[in-house]
């Protein structure tokens, strides 16, 4: 499992990345992230929703109530143009960080 500090930093990136594929409601969003990270990133309600509300305030995502296929009312989140703009530099920064860590660990092992 990944530690809480790293998770906080990656959570926004994970949400923005998953929403790139299309709008999702909270439960489905958490499930997709968990599946795609093989369970490394798991969100409790206390972690997920305050973050979604904050990201909505920052206008990176937009939530709206929709009726799902089974007739239930769900709040769906979609990526906004500002969110798309935010995602690219975030992806670059994290990719750079991972490359740096890889280089570091290789040196350490050598």
């Amino acid at each position: 499992m990944i530690g809480a500090g790293i998770k906080r930093g990656t959570a926004e990136l994970a949400v923005l990345s998953v929403l790139q594929d299309g709008p999702l409601h909270g439960y489905e969003l958490a499930r997709r992230i968990e599946q795609q990270t093989n369970g490394a990133l798991r969100f409790t309600l206390a972690a997920l929703y305050p973050m979604l509300y904050r990201m909505e305030q920052q206008r990176w995502i937009r939530g709206s109530w929709e009726i799902s296929a089974n007739g239930r009312k769900r709040r769906c989140y979609r990526l906004t143009p500002a969110g798309k703009k935010k995602l690219s530099p975030l992806q670059r920064e994290w990719a750079e960080l991972f490359r740096a860590l890889q280089r570091l660990t290789k040196v350490a092992h050598a």
């Binding site: 909270g26 409790t44 309600l45």
Partner: protein
């Protein structure tokens, strides 16, 4: 199956965000828990096990409440400040300026009072002063309707005189510092004409709205 909506409502009792958003948060979290519960059930878990696993997904409810309060208040401060102060205040300001213009052009001649041997003088557009309570009342009503506190309601009603009040608060000490003999009298005269008299008229309208709304809520 538990009533998830009721469970969320009980666990987040005292959430300090506006009631509309509070309802949305309850519905959204309840929907999340309901889906999780159904997913656990379809994985073959018993009702009891599914409920336990679903509740484990919640995390610390107090932490959740604190974080939602914090996120919600950030959001509310922005929108509420606009709805409860800036919009009603600017409308009161506009009404006040338009009525002043109309009073000068179409109303009766101003009432002139001499404080000391004719100089300086106080000019009261009485028609304007009669209209100001209405402008103050409209501002106060809009602020109240947007859920504004007493402070916001009263500030919205006296909003038009606030810029002048600030100017005088800066100008009087500067004038005194310069030491001009006439300064204090001149500034006092102008302050009465531009701040105190219209301020009292506007505040009268605001207080009337406050009084009426308090009576209405008490009778309910």
């Amino acid at each position: 199956m538990p009533d998830w909506q009721e469970l969320v409502r009980r666990r987040l009792l005292g959430l300090a965000v506006d009631s509309t958003w509070q309802e949305e948060v309850h519905s959204e979290l309840a929907a999340h828990l309901e889906e999780a519960f159904e997913a656990f059930r379809s994985d073959g878990l018993s009702d009891h096990e599914a409920v336990q696993r679903t509740l484990a997904l919640s995390g610390d409810w107090r932490d959740l409440q604190r974080k939602i309060d914090s996120a919600g208040n950030g959001k509310d401060t922005m929108t509420n400040r606009v709805k409860q102060l800036w919009l009603p205040g600017l409308l009161t300001f506009t009404l006040s300026m338009v009525s002043m213009e109309l009073a000068q052009k179409l109303g009766p001649a101003p009432h002139i009072l001499s404080l000391d041997k004719g100089t300086p003088v106080l000019m009261f557009y009485t028609a304007w002063l009669y209209v100001l309570p209405l402008a103050g009342a409209i501002g106060a009503y809009l602020a109240k309707r947007a859920g504004g506190s007493l402070r916001m309601v009263l500030l919205s009603s006296i909003f038009p005189v606030l810029p002048f009040a600030v100017v005088f608060m800066v100008a009087i000490p500067v004038g005194l510092a310069i030491g001009h003999a006439l300064m204090p009298v001149v500034y006092l005269t102008m302050a009465i004409g531009w701040v105190f008299a219209p301020g009292v008229a506007l505040l009268a309208g605001g207080l009337l709205v406050k009084l009426v709304s308090s009576r209405v809520s008490t009778s309910r």
